[in-house]
């Protein structure tokens, strides 16, 4: 049946209600997995707690395997799903700036909202910072326009850009993820334990 709302199986009015419900589940899972504490988030970069790596890769894997199984069985049509557009240099430069922001601030927008919900003042300040960042971007937009608009390769998937069979890529990706989990466990044992 493919994505239900765009295909009209569920009327479009439900979209926002579903958004809230999904948001509640999203917030609950993020907070319960400990993503509301910035020190646990930063642990992935300093080796004392690889929760971010484990949750992130497991979620991506479960989602990708699920999407392709449902596509195979005819429940979901992958072509109708929203694929994040590929702006090559936009993604690289934006990613680098976000990486530094992640290490400096300890949050990403989703997790900072969870921390705000449980009363973390540094998270509130962080969200304020994000808004300022967006404000700066919008004011200096002409400066960022070439990167923002340029190098557009369309809403392209790995299958289109690298011509690989998605099933094989998912299989290799899952092996890489499991190897990463094993390594992160070994590293975590060796690194000095930090109580937060």
């Amino acid at each position: 049946m493919g994505p239900l709302i765009p295909n009209g199986v569920i009327p479009f009015e439900w979209d926002n209600i579903i958004a809230i419900l999904i948001g509640i589940a999203f917030g609950f899972v993020l907070e319960a997995s400990g993503f509301s504490s910035s020190r646990k988030l930063a642990g992935v970069f300093y080796g004392y707690d690889f929760a971010v790596l484990k949750v992130f890769f497991t979620a991506a894997l479960v989602a990708v395997i699920g999407v392709y199984y449902m596509d195979y069985l005819g429940f979901l049509d992958v072509n109708q799903l929203y694929v994040h557009p590929t702006y090559l240099w936009g993604a690289i430069i934006g990613g680098i700036i976000m990486g530094v922001g992640f290490v400096a601030g300890g949050f990403c927008p989703g997790t900072s909202l969870c921390a705000v919900a449980i009363g973390k003042i540094d998270a509130i300040v962080y969200v304020g910072g994000i808004m300022v960042g967006i404000f700066i971007f919008s004011e200096l937009y002409p400066l960022f326009q070439p990167i923002y608009e340029g190098y557009f390769y369309g809403n392209v998937t790995l299958e289109d850009s690298l011509g690989i069979n998605p099933y094989w890529f998912v299989f290799i990706f899952s092996i890489i993820a499991i190897v990463a989990f094993v390594i992160s466990d070994m590293v975590q044992k060796r690194v000095k334990k930090i109580f937060y």
Partner: protein
């Protein structure tokens, strides 16, 4: 004994694989229902746009960036991501409440003062806000939802975020370890 148990459970988090599994199922469910992934920084952009629009409407109209998101009939806040972000706040509050983690505080490593932590939080926020707009998505929107449909942009963004984070982790180590 109960208070002590409650105190201890403050730091009992789910097993990360379990959390990742549930998050994966949730993303799959979101794609199945709405055909789009999750997101977070989009909502902040909408709020900034609506603030600017209410504060300085003329400026908002002219500037090429704001005008993209201003539509006559609806305010920018009436957007899927804003509702989802509202849900995230509620969900996190419920989960925090269940395990007793609610309370005003600033979480920082014992070695640094809370003032320094706030300063770095602002710097981190500004950088993240800027980067999220340039890459048109944050870790949960571009990277996580992008990877779920194997989008090249999603992978590039994820690699760039984690790559640069690992590269510059050395400079901020005093904040965390």
């Amino acid at each position: 004994m109960k208070k002590e148990l409650k105190q201890k459970s403050k730091h009992i988090y789910w097993n990360p694989y379990y959390g990742g599994f549930l998050l994966g199922i949730l993303i799959l469910f979101t794609f199945y229902l709405t055909g789009r992934g999750l997101g977070a920084s989009g909502a902040m952009k909408s709020s900034v746009v609506s603030i600017i629009e209410s504060v300085a409407p003329t400026h908002a109209e002219e500037s090429s960036y704001y005008s993209k998101f201003i539509t006559e009939d609806e305010s920018p806040m009436k957007n899927w991501l804003v509702f989802e972000t509202l849900g995230v706040l509620i969900g996190a509050f419920i989960s925090g409440g269940l395990s007793g983690r609610i309370g005003w505080r600033i979480q920082h490593s014992p070695k640094i003062t809370s003032k320094r932590r706030l300063v770095f939080a602002v710097i981190g926020g500004v950088l993240f806000g800027l980067g999220a707009q340039i890459a048109r998505g944050c870790t949960s929107g571009a990277a996580l939802s992008g990877m779920a449909v194997l989008s090249t942009g999603g992978f590039i963004t994820m690699l760039a975020i984690f790559g640069s984070a690992y590269a510059t982790a050395y400079f901020f180590r005093k904040n965390w370890i």
